[in-house]
Assembly symmetry: C2
């Protein structure tokens, strides 16, 4: 199931239609919902994060994932965050394919100086390789502080075998592009998916907590 | 089999290494080889075309496809060309996924004023949709004279059903982006794949015919 795949069709219209009330809310999601998160962040929304979605409840042990997202939305609970967050100035996180397909569109956010975390699911290694070529060749992306690789799960077999792991592929493209390789990130299409806020981490809280407004978006 | 999938890794180095002798040759291919064709065209090579490759001989009736590519390479035979070619000023053709993954990289050619023909194979409709969002959202691509859609074959089923044909999807993104929709093109991952030279069609011939140099590149 790819329930989120219409995001690229609706994102621009959705963002155009959002009011100041919407601006004070918090948004969390991942996978195809990244298109919308990117657009919201680009539009200056303060509380946007990569993290679990309602549909994660369907995973074995998924209640922990949904509880994590809610704890970020409602309390900005620090234990929900990916461990890198807070030790660096700015962060962002995306599914590899989704970020690739955003580049050069009106949804592409300015990620200069951000630690960029990337994850993937159900894509063959030659596709991960090609998408990372695309992402790391982008002039704007080359301004990130570095790349951390999340989990790449359920990779279909390559025929012939690709001969490299996802980490080797990511390290290769970092080396070629001059983007610092910063190691692994604790995100992925799974119940352990930690929360990665977009942008600078306000000290201890975010705008939506102060306004008491949160929203879980999208589906897995 | 995705034998051409390393193109994005080698294209830059290959093109950097090509000499003036290589510049006088002709190049034809499709699918992943499009990465290389794009880079060659961008580098000012005169005789670059989208068309059949050696591996097409493995298809039922594939000898006709390979003979077509050879007739273009050796004689610039006009009957090898896609029917649009010659009636318009400039043309280019790509696999949808490959063009999408080129955008914003050092391989992206200037396609302003070109009739852009696109084809796809073995990609689910939600992927075709997302790639066409990506392609038609690109500022440089918006300067093309228009888009013609080639064949989109062996589309895996979408669950839930996408509810649109590939032509409806392409027309939708043309309408949204303001790119003229110019109908269907006679190209695809099949033995009827016609030749589409990149750029302006020199009257009756191309540089490599004058120099008697041709090369079939890549594999299916």
């Amino acid at each position: 199931m790819r329930g989120g795949y219409g995001s690229c069709r609706v994102a621009e219209a959705v963002i155009r239609g959002l009011t100041d009330v919407a601006r004070r809310k918090a948004y969390v999601g991942y996978s195809d919902a990244g298109t919308l998160l990117a657009g919201l962040y680009r539009a200056g929304f303060e509380a946007v994060a990569h993290g679990p979605m309602p549909a994660d409840i369907l995973r074995e042990g998924g209640d922990a994932a949904v509880a994590r997202a809610l704890a970020w939305l409602v309390e900005a609970a620090p234990e929900t965050l990916e461990r890198t967050v807070g030790s660096v100035e700015k962060t962002a996180a995306f599914n590899i394919t989704i970020l690739s397909q955003l580049l050069g569109t009106p949804m592409q956010p300015d990620l200069e100086g951000h630690v960029l975390m990337l994850e993937e699911v159900s894509e063959a290694m030659y596709r991960i390789d090609r998408s990372l070529f695309h992402i790391t060749s982008n002039e704007q992306i080359r301004k990130v502080a570095g790349i951390k690789l999340g989990r790449c799960d359920r990779i279909p077999p390559n025929e012939p075998d690709f001969g490299m792991t996802e980490e080797e592929v990511a390290r290769y493209w970092c080396r070629r592009s001059g983007i610092p390789w910063l190691g692994r990130a604790d995100i992925g299409h799974d119940i352990d998916n930690k929360v990665v806020p977009f942008g600078r981490i306000a000290s201890g809280s975010h705008a939506a907590v102060r306004n008491n407004k949160g929203a879980l978006i999208g589906r897995a």
